[in-house]
Amino acid sequence: MQTRNVLVVGVGGQGVLLASNVLAAACLARGYDVKKSEVKGMAQRGGAVVSFVRYGQQVHSPLVERGRADLVLSLEWAEALRWAAYLRPGGVLAVDLVRILPPAAQLDHRTWQASYPAVEVERLRQAGWDVRPYEASRRAAELGDGRMANVVLLGAVSRELEFAAEEWERALREVLPQKVVEANLRAFHAGRQLPQAAVFPAEARRAAARAFRVEVTPSWCKGRGCGICVRVCPEEVLVFGPDDRVRAASPDRCTGCQLCQLLCPDFAVVVREEVAVG
């Protein structure tokens, strides 16, 4: 048999390694040669996690080559896009439609655009992949614990791989801690019955960026003796000037939240919106 290539991907903490451990256990029980490779350490601190599983008669490389994966199992939407290029033409991309916005995608406080990709299933299908979107996290939550989304998704694609239901069950029993086995077996079978999602989440709309001006009345400002506004400004617009009074060093960063104005005990700070003239 030809070596099979599978990627299990997601966000640190979602249970990527547990899902790939289950698959690897099923492979071992079949008597296949199997290699399962992942990077631990920094990648687990909320970062992107990938686990490569390769099995067959004899497996050499622990890594899957781009364009050669038979299956990418993604526990999160943005992660599916990160690894989709590993799929061979016609390869299966099973993806949980849950969206986990990372802090790094929410840093643009000027235009408020999250640098997070839109859910465009059809575009991926046009790239030649067999895309199967599921609401696995939602189903897992209905079953009482959203953390079982990994096992629900595993169930949803379990028919895609050559293992029978009993083989999957044995692997789950082997890998999971005793006290959660029964719940996860239910999650697995719920996954096997789970239909593909037909409705996809829409994009959030944001207002256009506006411009603001921060005015400080120096004679009212206690400067370093107070400093409330300097510490509280989320965008670090305010600094202490050479005269120790507060001034707006980077007004272009001001988002108009008015925290400084509201919290100034001396009414020394006012935020005004710049109105375009003409």
Binding site: K36, G41, W112, P117
Partner: protein, 600 residues
């Protein structure tokens, strides 16, 4: 542990690290030490699940190697594990241990990290074997990781030398099929007083040095033994000399090529390589990082091709090996590169929700401090949105660099060193003594979360427990600092944002060395801290984004807006209930979820 054993057939799916631990166990290792460091950590952790071995973390790699060396001198088999940069710390002992040799077998494991998945550099520690004059074994998969570890102990005793077993991330963290055996502990060789062997006075060291050189000549013959050397003749037009994980990549990408696979890659079995070279038309070397084999083969007169095609930086992948052989004309040029990577959200690692390191860095950022950082989770505070770190080099560097920066007198703000508890015990102690001695005007923040968090939560001498979970003596960090002569020592709860600000402000004002110890346990280890989560009262949220400054992964934008700015919500499954966001929220919009909450 994760190892799944089928007892009947004695087959298990083990990572390279677990296989090394298993090999050491079956070889009868009596004492195992190390310092946690990705990708080496799981060796000691897995050994701690097995009986009849003394296993414990050391405060740093040099101490770990000294302990292992002492055990070896005492006549028992000893294992010492570390990541690649750990061997820099242990190098002082390692270089001389080559001269003294051993009594019980001594195996040093260096787990290298090509590609810097979780490291500050990607140094190639094969060079240490040549530097020290000790044999170097490089397993290529989990089964070899186990077999080579067992062989390493015998070699060590047979040739009176420490053995360097070198893995890489892909070997250490790849699970593969391994055959298990029983433990065979050789009887201890009784202690034997031998100053000429163990006391490296110049006169004695001069007598030991020729033994190192002569030992290497004999070891070169061992490198040709079939348990280490594999010669696979296939197509004679292409011959590849390789070792470690690169062997599996070569077999994957050019399955028809003839291959000479080294198990011992220092010293080299030059005669066997010469015979192989004589049978192939072109001779390639495929190796990660430095041209270690290539340069030795060139020096021995071989005409080899290597780094001209295979990059010196980063981890080798099937793609990169394929590109190399294509450039060399061995494979056809890859035509269609396939679909490009799709644009997606950036997802760098971040501090966890509830991380007790968040507040100190938020305060340091707002106080305008110049921060010399150190190695640990908290290095992530260098990134958005905290942006509160200006340097991070090596274990313990923070305090010495802060001292130097303060002496330079050019910093635009107060000079602060930030170091974790485990890192402080590893290499921060001598630097703090030095700062006191130099009367440096620096503030040292010790982020004491009670564990070695970055590597998954290993205990250390200030934790109060050992690797097997049993109680252990506990170092009092504040008392240590005072004993070193630090007069300003303040402990503060980093979940109290105001108190953290005040403590840091006072410490910065203190005209000398000041120490602030933040004392909340890590939320992930040894126990997961999950308090009642918080939620956002959307009607009250003014979308000011102050809570977003914490960089907490549990706080995300919603589709609702206030004056055009997105309001926030808190993912209840991710929130640990640390209270920080509720403390910063000026609108009091963040509250406990309230009745109905239960710990899942």
């Amino acid at each position: 542990m994760e190892a799944r054993t089928r007892e009947r057939t004695r087959i298990a799916l083990l990572t390279g690290n677990e296989a090394i631990a298993r090999g050491a166990y079956e070889a009868g290792v009596a004492v195992a030490t190390g310092y946690p460091g990705t990708p080496s950590t799981e060796i000691v952790e897995y050994l701690a699940t097995l009986p009849d071995v003394y296993v414990e973390w050391s405060s740093n790699e040099k101490v770990a190697l000294d302990v292992a060396m002492g055990a070896s001198m005492g006549g028992v088999r000893a294992l010492c594990t570390m990541k690649h940069v750990g061997l820099n710390v242990a190098a002082d002992t390692f270089m001389v241990a080559s001269y003294t040799g051993v009594r019980g077998g001594l195996v040093v494991v260096s787990a290298d990290d090509p590609g810097m998945h979780s490291s500050q550099n990607e140094q190639d520690n094969r060079l240490y074997a040549k530097f020290a004059g000790v044999p170097l074994l490089e397993p290529g998969d989990s089964q070899e990781a186990k077999t080579f570890t067992e062989l390493a102990f015998s070699l060590s005793e047979e040739f009176d030398t420490p053995v360097l077993l070198r893995t890489t991330t892909r070997i250490s963290h790849t699970r593969g099929v391994v055959e298990l055996g029983d433990r065979h502990a050789p009887p201890p060789r009784p202690f034997h007083r031998d100053p000429a062997k163990y006391v490296m006075l110049p006169a004695y060291a001069r007598q030991r040095r020729p033994r190192v050189l002569e030992r290497l000549l004999r070891l070169a013959e061992v490198a040709a033994r079939p348990e280490f050397l594999r010669v696979e003749m296939r197509d004679p037009s292409v011959g590849v000399v390789t070792a470690g994980v690169c062997y599996s990549l070569v077999r994957e990408v050019v399955p028809e090529a003839s291959v000479l696979k080294l198990g011992m890659s220092y010293p080299l079995p030059l005669d066997a390589i010469r015979r192989f070279a004589g049978q192939v038309r072109r001779l390639f070397v495929v190796e990660e990082l430095e041209p270690f084999l290539e340069e030795m083969l060139r020096a021995a007169g071989f005409s080899v091709e290597g780094k001209a095609y295979f990059p010196q930086q980063g981890e080798l992948t099937p793609e990169r090996v394929r590109e190399g052989f294509a450039r060399a004309g061995v494979l056809p040029e890859p035509g269609d590169a396939g679909p490009a990577n799709l644009p997606t959200a950036p997802r760098p690692p971040v501090l966890c929700p509830g991380c007790p390191h968040t507040a100190p860095f938020l305060a340091l950022q707002r106080l305008g401090a110049v921060v010399c950082g150190d190695i640990g989770c908290y290095t992530l505070a260098a990134l958005e949105p905290l942006r509160a770190m200006d340097s991070c080099l090596a274990m313990g560097s923070s305090i010495g660099m802060a001292t130097g920066l303060a002496l330079a007198g050019t910093a635009p703000g107060p000079v602060v060193a930030v170091i974790g508890d485990s890192t402080f015990l590893h290499a921060g102690l001598p630097a703090l003594v030095d700062a006191v001695y130099k009367r440096a005007h620096v503030t040292v923040v010790i982020l004491d979360n009670g564990t070695t968090a970055m590597t998954g939560g290993q205990p250390h001498p200030a934790t109060g427990s050992g690797v097997r979970g049993a109680p252990a003596p506990r170092v009092d960090l504040a008392a240590v600092c005072r004993a070193m002569g630090v007069e300003f020592v303040r402990a503060v709860d980093p979940y109290d944002l105001g108190a953290t600000f005040v403590a840091l402000e006072e410490a910065i004002r203190y005209p000398g060395v000041s120490v602030v110890i933040t004392n909340r346990p890590c939320v992930e280890a040894p126990v997961k801290v999950r308090d009642e989560p918080f939620r956002v009262v959307l009607e009250r949220c003014t979308a000011c984004q102050l809570c977003m400054d914490l960089g907490c992964p549990a706080i995300v934008w919603t589709d609702e807006t206030y004056e055009g700015r997105p309001k926030v919500t808190i993912r209840p499954d991710a929130c640990t209930g640390c209270t920080l966001c509720a403390q910063v929220c000026p609108a009091d919009a963040i509250v406990r979820v309230g009745p109905g909450w239960r710990r899942s």
